[in-house]
């Protein structure tokens, strides 16, 4: 039997990498992102280079289901940004 070491679980020692950050996104009439607000600066989306959808962990119930639509976009300043629309929570994130 291994005795209890008494040390606290160190959840803080693990940090998720590439965690989603909430962003403000304006959408067009088709629900596609048209502009993104990054660091208080609004950038137009000039092209959507790729788009895919993931639906995972649906078996854990509606509140824990992961349902995202990803957009690989190019902004007016030339940057490439990956955004997703969280369909379950109805929010926009940058990843």
């Amino acid at each position: 039997m291994v005795p209890n070491s008494g040390t606290k679980a160190r959840a803080s020692a693990i940090k998720p990498l590439n965690a989603p950050t909430p962003v403000t996104v304006n959408v067009d009439e088709r629900g596609m992102p048209s502009s993104v607000s990054v660091r208080d600066k609004v950038n137009e989306v000039v092209a959507i280079e790729d788009m895919w959808k993931i639906n995972d962990e649906w078996w854990r119930g509606l509140d824990k289901e992961i349902e995202r639509v990803y957009f690989h976009t190019r902004l007016s300043d030339g940057r490439q940004v990956t955004l997703f629309h969280d369909l379950a929570a109805d929010g926009w994130f940058r990843q």
């Binding site: 160190r10 590439n18 995972d56 990843q95």
Partner: protein, 395 residues
């Protein structure tokens, strides 16, 4: 040491002076003690004696001098080169870790009689090699007897111990023994004032009382010394010196000076198409003890630019204790190879280096440094944030 000081500062001649340094013994680390003294103070002084005790013995107008170890070592190095030109087996006294052995060298004179004639001629040849100093030369069957003979000889003359060494040693004070000052004080406490007193005791009793030092003292007092003479290996080095017009602490003046010294050093024939493994910088600091810094090159440096790059990375403002008056650069570890030694187990070395960096950061920040490494969690996951995570680094 005092002789070097007197050559450098002739106004000190005939003035009683003590060169004071930090005591090297573990028991009294940091305490000031006597390193050397002028002949005016006579035999009352002994090396390693605490300064407070020395001042209690001597007159109050004694001059206290801070040691200039780089200069003493440099001068002693030149003396050794002069001796080696006359005699191949020269061993500087480095048995004691502190500076007490500086200025003392043992020379193997076996076979030299064929070159110079008898011992008297050998002594004269050696004396000529160090004519600028008040050299004392002793000839004996072993290192200890030679040292004792030299201590008893007069300036510029040689003394040879012949016959029964015990008779010569019997009246000599225990202060000559190569042990700590504290131990010699203890010997006086036991009523052992001369080597004859120690020689009269059985070696076992001395060893029982003083341990390893006791056995050594017993042997030496009987004239027995088994230590072999290990000839000094001359290290090939190139040295350059530069004096500043005014004392400076500014890196914008010091770095060009180092650059000049490096350019000069690399034009030496000894360094032609060769590499240096180590650089040593020595400087006289205004109103402070001299400053020394060693830089070991990770890869042997074959040009002034490469050497300067390594020196620059180590040299920064807080490293200097004050304004410097001059600077000496010595390049050593000269080699024809430019290769870099790689480890067979690169991973292990990388982890050790990482751990070292983390430890240094921890010491500097006084907390666990925020150093993480990327670890795979679920690389197959369709959810990007679940594929990898940052975890605390533990090499």
């Amino acid at each position: 040491m005092w002789q070097v000081e007197f050559i450098r500062r002739p106004e000190l001649v005939n003035r009683p002076a003590i060169i004071v340094g930090e005591n090297g013994s573990i028991a009294s680390k940091g305490a000031q003690s006597v390193l050397d003294w002028s002949p005016e103070l006579g035999p009352k002084m002994s090396r390693g004696m605490p300064l407070s005790e020395a001042l209690a013995i001597v007159r109050k107008d004694v001059l206290l001098l801070e040691p200039d170890m780089p200069l003493y070592r440099h001068t002693f190095g030149e003396v050794l080169i002069g001796l080696e030109a006359r005699c191949p087996d020269v061993e500087p006294d480095t048995e004691r870790a502190d500076s007490y052995g500086l200025g003392r060298a043992y020379i193997g004179i076996w076979g030299l009689d064929r070159l110079y004639g008898d011992d008297a001629h050998v002594v004269r040849a050696l004396s000529n090699a160090v004519s600028q100093f008040d050299a004392r030369i002793g000839v004996g069957e072993n290192k200890w007897l030679a040292y004792v003979a030299a201590s008893a000889s007069s300036s510029g003359r040689g003394l040879k111990i012949t016959g029964e060494p015990g008779r010569f040693l019997t009246k000599l004070p225990v202060e000559l023994l190569p042990v700590d000052f504290k131990l010699t004080t203890q010997l006086h406490g036991f009523g052992l004032h001369t080597m004859g007193d120690i020689a009269a005791l059985p070696p076992g009793a001395m060893q029982a009382q003083f341990g390893k030092d006791g056995a050594l003292m017993s042997d030496l007092s009987n004239g027995i010394d088994q230590r072999p003479l290990v000839a000094h290996q001359t290290e090939e080095a190139v040295s350059e010196y530069l004096e500043f017009p005014d004392a400076t602490v500014s890196m914008s003046a010091i770095l060009p000076a180092i650059e000049i010294l490096l350019s000069r050093a690399y034009t030496h024939p000894q360094l032609t198409r060769r590499y240096a493994r180590e650089a040593k910088l020595e400087a006289s600091v205004l109103r402070r003890p001299p400053w020394t810094m060693r830089v070991a090159f990770k890869e042997p440096a074959g040009s002034p630019t490469k050497a300067l790059f390594s020196i620059k990375s180590k040299l920064h403002d807080p490293a200097l204790p004050g304004p410097i008056e001059d600077i000496r650069l010595t390049l050593s570890g000269l080699t024809g190879e430019a290769g870099r030694q790689e480890s067979l187990w690169a991973e292990v070395r990388r982890d050790q280096k990482l751990q070292e960096v983390v430890n240094q950061l921890e010491a500097r920040l006084d907390t666990t440094p925020p150093v993480y490494q990327v670890r795979e969690l679920e690389p197959w996951s369709r959810i990007p944030e679940r594929r990898h995570a940052l975890v605390r680094l533990s090499p």
